[in-house]
Symmetry: C2
Subunit: 146 residues, 2 copies
Amino acid sequence: MYVTIMRQKKTSPANNVTVLERLRTAGLRPTRQRLALAKLMFARGHRHVSAEQLFNEAKSSRVDVSLATVYNALHDFTAKGLLREISIDSSSSYFDTNTGSHHHFYFERSGHLEDIAAERVNIASLPEAPGGAEISRVDVIIRVKA
Amino acid sequence: MYVTIMRQKKTSPANNVTVLERLRTAGLRPTRQRLALAKLMFARGHRHVSAEQLFNEAKSSRVDVSLATVYNALHDFTAKGLLREISIDSSSSYFDTNTGSHHHFYFERSGHLEDIAAERVNIASLPEAPGGAEISRVDVIIRVKA
DNA sequence: TCTATCATTAGAATTGTTCTAAACTGCTTG
DNA sequence: CAAGCAGTTTAGAACAATTCTAATGATAGA
């Protein structure tokens, strides 16, 4: 049941507006929780965040959301193209705020991910998808021993 | 505890010998279970198999192994270079009997994987790994809407 | 303001995988 | 070729990430 009505500190109004509009134009109701989570996700440049991580950030920021809501929000955002999901290490998946075309370094020791701009990977040729199926995207993952 | 001593049908002796030798040269004791699992894995060309799948195949073939053993064997084989592990869809991981350099089509609807020979993907240029770290491998996954 | 519809919640349930400690076996040695 | 030890296997418990459930709450449009 609902226990606490959070009363979070307002960040800059500009930030509020953009996040709110991103949700609205994506066709997502800008609820308190989605707004708060979206702000955490999109506040600082591109990131690779797991559900658990975002949940913890929310707790630290006194944003009172349940873990289920974090999963719901991340999936809703992904379905609407605001995020992109990546699963590299089968133990958990990451949500990437960079939805443009790009690739990744994966640091095997730490499990850390780092973006590679699309231009830095030059793919000269790719095979056709079998049966002329449509390609939805091409992921290049460079696994690094570090 | 040990319940049944399985008594499996012998397949061709040649097949037996090669699998046994593959295990031995890999530095793995060719136990009954490992032999049986290796035969299932390597019998028919290249495959992408999950632990659960292999476990079920074993059951169907009256090979009495525990699920834990299947996981142990798959990981042991992978550690010794007999298999390669792939995680694409974070729900479970696959073990690929093709350990050579190659890439994959991933059929999003079915979750199915298909090999792409390394030559069919032409990467003209790749970035250096940060800090000069060693690249352990490059995975290209072509996601297909089918 | 009312209300249908959509979102959130706590906790239970599921799923894939790993752990544990005890039973067992392949292999080397004597 | 028996014995024993190191490496394997096992059932089931434990775990971690994620999804489900069904009840409560909030949003947006009339």
